[in-house]
């Protein structure tokens, strides 16, 4: 499956034989064991697995916040490091409560020293596309959880990252809001693809959004299977129930030990 590196082959993200552990209360915990996967630039990769499969640890390692015990992570062909811009969307959005919607969205550009008028203009366009037109000067506590998550999306896309990490960004939302946001994320990302590693518990969400799905087992997280999702794009939330979709869904349920339910 792994393409032999010739030096010219384009690589979005590649993880090779990753081992990650951490110590908690004096005892060593093995979080990730011998994990390898990869995705082409602009591919959407989902990580799915039961609780305790080390998904959050994996994301923190990919974000270069945690050092692996062994193995390597490459982004666009070079080892992950501070030269890479890696954006992260948290479950709760991770917005700064003291900044307005537009200041939050533009913060990544502010960090890149983009002049205020320009970053505001860019943020305004993106907020508009994420359905937040007219709410630019609201504070996060004044808008709904779904809207906060849209702001977080706008912020992460605005920074034009080489890698976008998403840690269950829809988990805290109600079912209908989740469908709308999935659809909007899909529509936006398909117009402007960037490499995404997306962590989720939700099988349907993983199939709907992804080009690849990596299934992990729990404690420690090891690779169970690595799927390529061969469903056509553009995809939309309400039009996804094809035979291929159902086939993949059944396979994933089996991998997770949920097929008997």
């Amino acid at each position: 499956m792994a393409r032999q590196a010739t030096g010219a082959s384009p690589l979005g993200i590649r993880c090779r034989e990753l081992n990650v552990g951490f110590s908690a209360n004096g005892s060593k915990i093995e979080a990730i064991r011998n994990l390898s996967f990869q995705a082409a630039p602009g591919q959407f990769l989902s990580i799915i697995g039961p609780s305790g499969c080390g998904k959050t640890t994996l994301l923190r390692t990919l974000a270069n916040l945690v050092q692996p015990n062994s193995g390597r992570i490459e982004l666009d062909g070079s080892p992950v490091g501070s030269q890479h811009r890696i954006a992260m969307v948290h479950q709760d959005g991770g917005l700064f409560p003291w900044m307005t919607v537009i200041e939050n969205a533009a913060f990544a550009l502010e960090a890149q020293d983009v002049p205020k008028t320009e970053r505001t203009a860019q943020a305004r366009i993106l907020l508009e596309r994420f359905g937040l037109g007219g709410r630019e000067s609201a504070y996060p506590h004044q808008i709904s959880a779904g809207m906060r998550q849209r702001v977080a999306f706008a912020r992460s896309f605005l920074s034009r990252p080489s890698l976008l990490l998403m840690d269950e960004p829809f988990a805290a939302l109600d079912a209908q809001t989740r469908l709308r946001l999935q659809n909007d994320l899909l529509a936006f990302w398909e117009r402007q693809p960037i490499t995404v590693v997306f962590v989720t518990h939700d099988i349907d969400e993983a199939i709907l959004l992804s080009d690849r799905i990596v299934v992990l087992s729990s404690q420690p997280g090891t690779l169970v299977r690595d799927y390529e999702v061969r469903l056509g794009r553009p995809r939309r939330v309400a039009r996804r129930w094809s035979a291929e979709y159902m086939e993949l869904r059944t396979a994933l349920l089996e991998d997770l030990g949920l097929a008997e339910l």
């Binding site: 811009r85 890696i86 991770g94 003291w98 504070y139 912020r155 920074s159």
Partner: protein, 248 residues
């Protein structure tokens, strides 16, 4: 009845009954001068320049003591919040200082520094300093680690992270710390003025007490109370104004 009237009800009842009991001759005006007499007394004291002189002395002492206490408190609190070693070394000392009634060292301070402003300012500053240090250290330690992660993943440098993330994150608690420090400094100011002091509301109260000038004594107490209430309210408002993102 409007909402804002409720808090005024009890003071009003007290004042009216006090006035009535005085007029009826139940209360001895030597110890309990009727409220109606206090206002002209205040006007007289103000016009003579005595009241402004004492007020100015108190406010000056309070401001200097606050500056001398709050700024080092901020700096030390910041260091304690960020650097574990500093925190471990100083936390017990600061906590002990915080809980010690600082007035107990005034005689010692006078002995060492001599009679004058230095021991007074030292004591006021110490009262503000411990409070500000503890509040600042707590605020810095309580910064959500998610915030620094988001800042980092957005590519923000140290200066931008402090200015746009850490500072606003701690600002509300810093203002609360300042309000508490102000309260303790005011208490310390009035207290040190009770001892061997020529000017200030506290010294005015003592002199009035020694000369049985109860009007003046009451005015001093009322003025002290008003100072406390006014500063507390103003600083509460400032906290709300400076942190509009906080839910009411």
């Amino acid at each position: 009845m409007k909402r804002w009237m409720a808090p005024l009800a009890i003071p009003l009842v007290v004042l009216v009954s006090w006035q009535m009991l005085s007029t009826a001759g139940v209360l001895d005006p030597l110890f309990f001068p009727p409220p109606a007499r206090l206002l002209p007394a205040a006007a007289r004291l103000w016009a003579s320049g005595e009241l402004p002189m004492h007020l100015r002395a108190t406010l000056l002492r309070l401001s200097l003591g606050l500056i001398l206490g709050v700024l080092p408190g901020l700096a030390l609190g910041l260091a304690m919040g960020r650097i574990a070693l500093v925190r471990r070394a100083l936390d017990p000392v600061i906590s002990a200082l915080y809980t010690t009634p600082k007035i107990s060292v005034l005689p010692l301070l006078i002995l060492v520094l001599g009679v004058g402003e230095a021991p007074r300012l030292g004591l006021i500053a110490a009262a503000a300093f411990t409070t500000m240090t503890i509040q600042t250290a707590d605020a810095v330690r309580a910064i959500d680690p998610n915030y620094s992660e988001v800042a980092r993943s957005c590519g923000a440098g140290t200066w931008l992270t402090w200015r746009r993330v850490y500072f606003p994150a701690v600002l509300p608690q810093l203002l609360t710390g300042f309000r508490l420090a102000f309260g303790r400094a005011l208490l310390a100011t009035i207290t040190v003025e009770l001892f061997n002091c020529q000017r200030g509301i506290g010294s005015m109260i003592v002199m009035a007490w020694q000369t049985f000038a109860t009007d003046k004594l009451y005015l001093g107490v009322i003025l002290t109370a008003l100072l406390g209430i006014a500063s507390h309210t103003a600083l509460k408002l400032a906290e709300r104004y400076a942190a509009p993102w906080r839910r009411a």
